[in-house]
Symmetry: C2
Subunit: 311 residues, 2 copies
């Protein structure tokens, strides 16, 4: 368990800002459509995203084979998406697979990896999740590794409690450096920011973007940022410039937009919006068990949104 | 969606009886120990198991890479475990991986495959789970395929409700043929037996072995059968011979044994018992997030069990 010491390094390049949890466009065969994926990621960076949380929940990564994830990552970088803008999800229930995906992320120059806890077994002990991460960090064995913990208990059934976060930080300082908190619970995000100063905390929703920044957090990594990135970036920039009133006003507008989209199943809704905005029907493809919106839902969604404000 | 018709066949070779949800012994590197696995499976068949539910929850299959699962399956058959005695778990959140694992099971002559629903996303629609199975069955595209649905909502968060079972049975008659029900709810098992006569229902615990057989079900596929197979088989045989009093008495004894083991985390407890019975320390290895029993727990467990009755 001395991996922390071996792996510790002094450089500080913690991620910060507005990140889209990028959608993965799929072809008719349900394989990732590399060209559309590259185009989408470049568009998000152009629209103001500081970085991209690719291969997360929104990216349907757990419905993709390891090989498909590796090929799509490579395609992004070959297509001109800077590796250092990527925070790839590399979690898996399988240690070897998580290690392989993480190594590939390091090879393309990613500034960090976002790792789920193993999510099949439930009611597991803190010790069990700790050992998974300890084994994983030591198997990856790369000094460049920066781990962001991916807390999403509604999906995984397995969370990162504060004692576990503390233990990982203490054992792997400079390696375990941050977290995406998708539990949707502001009080928890606040508690993590307070308890672990310097830990790079991203809210899993842009609803808490401004609050997170004000409490010393890093920003947000959010599904809906696939279509709200311009506005989310303005919130961030106003906050950084100390324009508090403007930041608050923009955040209110952003929260309304988020709320409108959240009224629908988010991944199908976001893909439906992208199909509309880009006029590319491929965006309607989803891997089961996700399914597209029904026509009536899609009409209501598109009617309610200020489409010209999006993306 | 006409895969059912294309794939339907007339032969009837439904599985029935006492199945162990076989443990997977791991080496010190956490890879499956093939020799120990072969020996364990052969021992279980010798002890009276009709078949083996390998690569299930108890087998830590979701903590193993696809390649590790394929290699271990091959090793079993090469080691003399009859392919037709195996009901391998071939589920995955990834359609391609589930298809690949299922094809491999068919190649070694398995009489069926036990398939989890995709288990990452929660709150998914019945339509989404249906489409996963529809795509999977059509991608496998093999007339020999016999699917047993693996219902374990405590782990997956995604279950097979009766309407979904009915829809799968109607669409894929002769292909979707049975279920392992690990919800631990006798009333649900009874309802499934009643609602779908001819559907091959296995209880996920030998606690309900006799009741399941009496209600027209197929038997049990259970973790604890790794160490209770001789006794479980006697329950089955007594029931088949119409010796109701004896069957009931044996079942009571079996239920007591199950209850003793269930008081501990089951997979670590079963591996600890195997380490004791075989005097092979490798049995103590578990893949994280599972961890071994603490010494005090192990002592209490071994003290309470009638070890000479086991296996």
């Amino acid at each position: 368990m001395n991996g922390g010491e071996d792996l510790e390094q002094t450089g500080n390049s913690l991620l910060r800002g507005v990140f889209a949890a990028a959608l993965t466009p799929m072809g008719g065969d349900l394989d990732p459509d590399h060209a559309a994926f590259v185009a989408h990621c470049r568009r998000l960076l152009d629209a103001g995203c500081h970085g991209l949380g690719v291969f997360g929940t929104t990216g349907e990564a757990n419905s993709l084979s390891v090989q498909a994830r590796l090929s799509a990552l490579e395609a992004l970088v070959e297509g001109g998406v800077p590796g250092e803008s990527l925070l790839p999800g590399t979690g898996s229930c399988v240690l070897e697979d998580a290690a392989r995906l993480s190594r590939a992320a390091l090879e393309v120059g990613s500034a960090g990896v976002l790792i789920l806890p193993p999510f099949y077994y439930k009611d597991v002990s803190e010790e069990g999740v700790f050992r998974f991460f300890a084994d994983l960090i030591e198997w990856i064995g790369d000094r460049r590794l920066r781990v962001y913990l991916y807390h999403f208990p509604q999906m995984t059934g397995v969370g990162f409690g504060l004692p576990l976060i503390g233990r990982l930080l203490e054992t792997y300082p400079g390696v375990v450096v941050g977290m995406k908190d998708s539990a949707g619970d502001w009080e928890r995000i606040e508690a993590v920011c307070r308890e672990f100063p310097g830990f790079s905390v991203f809210a899993g929703t842009e609803r808490y973007l401004l609050d997170t920044l004000r409490h010393g957090g890093a920003g947000c990594i959010s599904a809906t940022v696939n279509v709200t990135s311009r506005l989310a970036r303005r919130v961030y920039d106003s906050h950084e410039a100390g324009q508090d009133d403007e930041a608050r006003e923009l955040q209110e507008h952003l929260t309304v937009l988020r709320t409108e989209i959240e009224a629908f199943p988010p991944i199908p809704a976001l893909k439906r919006i992208m199909a509309h905005l880009t006029e590319a029907d491929g965006w309607r493809n989803l891997r089961p068990p996700l399914v597209g919106l029904e026509d009536g839902q899609a009409e209501r969604l598109l009617d309610r949104l200020p489409l010209s404000d999006l993306l």
